[in-house]
Amino acid sequence: MGIALQLLFTGLGVGSIYALVALGFVLIYRATNVVNFAQGDFAMLGAFSMVVLCIDLGWPYWLGIVLTIITMALFGALFNLGVYYPLRHRTFLPVIISTIGASILLENGVLAAYGPRPQSLPGVFASQGFSIGPVFFDSQYLTILAVTVFGVALQYLFFERTLLGKKLQAVSQDKEMASLLGIPVAFMIALTFVYSATLGGLAGILVAPILFVSVQMGASIALKAFAASIIGGFGDVTGAIVGGLALGVIETFGAAYISVPYKDGFAFLVLFVFLLIRPQGIFGERVAEKA
């Protein structure tokens, strides 16, 4: 029982990391109909920014977080201008390739600038965590879970209760119609990139104390997050969260009770089953081809 609870806690913790990154995927997909393959690298950049600010420069942790979030927001705008905007009238393929190119550039750019040595970053709390009975609660996983829940609630309120959120939704549903209604489409998309980059950066800040900070940290999370968003229903915010958490729990339990080396296999087996039986995912709606 204690072991199952421990696995459940860890699974949810790992799953919420996937969920945070999956959210970024989904938002950009909704706004642009394109999968941003550099989403994982946003997390990597956020984590490196924290290392530079808090470890190398020795600035306080809270200031590091604030500055990292600001930096990531600016970076999102820059990313939109450089990677998406010039190709916005093209089909989805050139844009996808452009994001793959950006991902390679970012990883190797950081490698060239910072070097290959993995770095460690302390957690938000000084304590590593606490035990209740046989279960150890890692303080960083708790933080990630809390931030994910809080972030999702905030996002729901923003998209459903504010005019700006509704405008963003309109753009993601039908760009031409939105444009006819006087919504500045390009600006809204830029805003989505800013938000996604910030979210990615936040994910990076949160996972850095657990996974350490390395150039390829983003890529491995992004792959799982991508699978999570498909399982949840690509383009669906709730789906990304549920898919991410489910994936974390499934692979942790699968590793513990069936086989550790096939851990990644379970995640992709679930993905495979979904693609075969329910390609629209848990929350996705079957989309008919537009007339």
């Binding site: 072991i3 150890f136 390829q216």
Partner: protein
């Protein structure tokens, strides 16, 4: 138009003729396959530093056959296809008589067929014992192979720590799987029992299931073959969080500079086998001092093996007085009692240069030399 054709012909001819017209002072190129990008990029820098340091020393003392050495490095991207590609690019340059790399067994396996075709000596650091038993005469190993590391881990745990119930945790790549097999075998011979054998894939984000398995197994001591430092760090931390405090004797990754930094206190008190330790011999001490003055950082196993490989290779070419592959091969195999940073080199007919390991202890973050174990068989 005619001028351009003429120029092209001239350029082609001159490039063909260059090797014939090379003078004695032309540098002698040595190819190196190293991970400059990808998950192993960290180790790649150490490997380059070690090799460069050796080249500087060799060139200071007159070079090889009167020519200065020049290192030509190709990136293997820490992947097997990358390593094969990097090697074939280097092998395409006919003026390179010998090569260095890789330290990853899986990559050496991948490159081995091309190495056999190329027919030139390659200095390797991969520790899978099979590598020198492939019937490939061109592989020369500059680190003790895993059959020795496993024997030393088992011997130390069973005979010195007096612990008989073992858990083995290993990466599922070639290095980890072979390490696990050798350790299982060595433990069997010593009459110890293995209560848990647990593999994991590289770059795992979470080790809770592995840590729980170790906890439940009731093992008194754990032997590990882990490939990448971040994996080692995450595992060590989660192991301690779940209250597992059994003795730990690990493979060399356990005490690399990066592993110590990432895992911090989680690795305190653990033991490891290492091929390089600065306190193990005067030659190791001298190398460490030289490395520190040059690079202002502490060397580890990744830099010592390339340093020794370059030094022994240069020595062999000088002894052979030739850059013919067969002559170099014979000269390397004839190397006896050469004191390198890694240990004393005595090549056997398989191409294995070293036959022992050091045991070290992590004493609150400082690596302390415990003892050297040398095997004669």
């Amino acid at each position: 138009m005619r001028f351009r054709t003429l120029a092209l012909v001239f350029a082609a001819a001159s490039s063909v003729l260059t090797p014939l017209t090379s003078t004695a002072a032309d540098p002698l190129k040595i190819g190196m396959v190293a991970p400059l990008t990808g998950p192993g990029a960290e180790s790649g820098r150490f490997q380059m530093n070690g090799a460069k340091l050796a080249v500087e020393q060799i060139n200071k003392s007159g070079g090889v056959l009167g020519r200065p050495l020049e290192l030509v490095v190709e990136d293997d991207q820490t992947t097997n296809p990358g390593a094969v590609l990097a090697f074939s690019r280097l092998a395409g340059d006919a003026s390179i008589p010998a090569f260095v790399g890789s330290i990853r067994s899986t990559q050496v396996h991948a490159m081995a067929p091309d190495i056999l075709k190329t027919g030139k000596p390659v200095m390797i650091g991969g520790t899978d014992p099979q590598l020198t038993k492939l019937g490939n005469p061109w592989l020369f190993r500059f680190r003790p192979n895993d059959s020795y590391s496993a024997r030393v881990i088992a011997d130390f745990g069973v005979n010195v720590l007096k612990l008989k119930k073992w858990a083995i945790v290993h990466s599922t790549d070639a290095f980890g799987t072979n390490g696990m097999k050798n350790l299982t075998e060595a433990l069997q011979k010593l009459g110890a029992t293995t209560v848990l054998t647990q593999g994991y894939t590289n770059n795992s984000q979470d080790f809770t299931p592995v840590a729980l398995a170790v906890k439940q197994s009731g093992a008194e001591v754990m032997g590990t073959y882990m490939t990448f430092e971040p994996d080692q760090g995450i595992f060590a931390k989660q192991l301690r969080q779940l209250g597992v405090t059994i003795s730990w004797v690990g493979s060399p990754t356990t005490v690399t500079t990066t592993a110590l930094k990432l895992a911090g206190p989680a690795l305190y008190g653990s033991y490891a086998v290492v091929d390089f330790n600065r306190d193990s011999s005067p030659a190791a001490k001298a190398f460490a001092a030289l490395y520190e003055t040059t690079y202002k950082s502490t060397p580890d196993v990744f830099s010592s093996w390339t340093y020794d490989a370059m030094t022994v290779l240069a020595r062999a070419i000088n002894t052979a007085k030739s850059v013919e592959p067969e002559a170099i091969r014979k000269a390397i195999l004839a190397t006896r009692d050469f004191a390198g940073a890694e240990g004393t080199f005595n090549f056997d007919q398989n191409g294995d240069g070293l036959h022992g390991y050091n045991i070290v202890r992590n004493d609150n973050g400082t690596i302390v030399f415990d003892k050297h174990v040398e095997f004669r068989d």
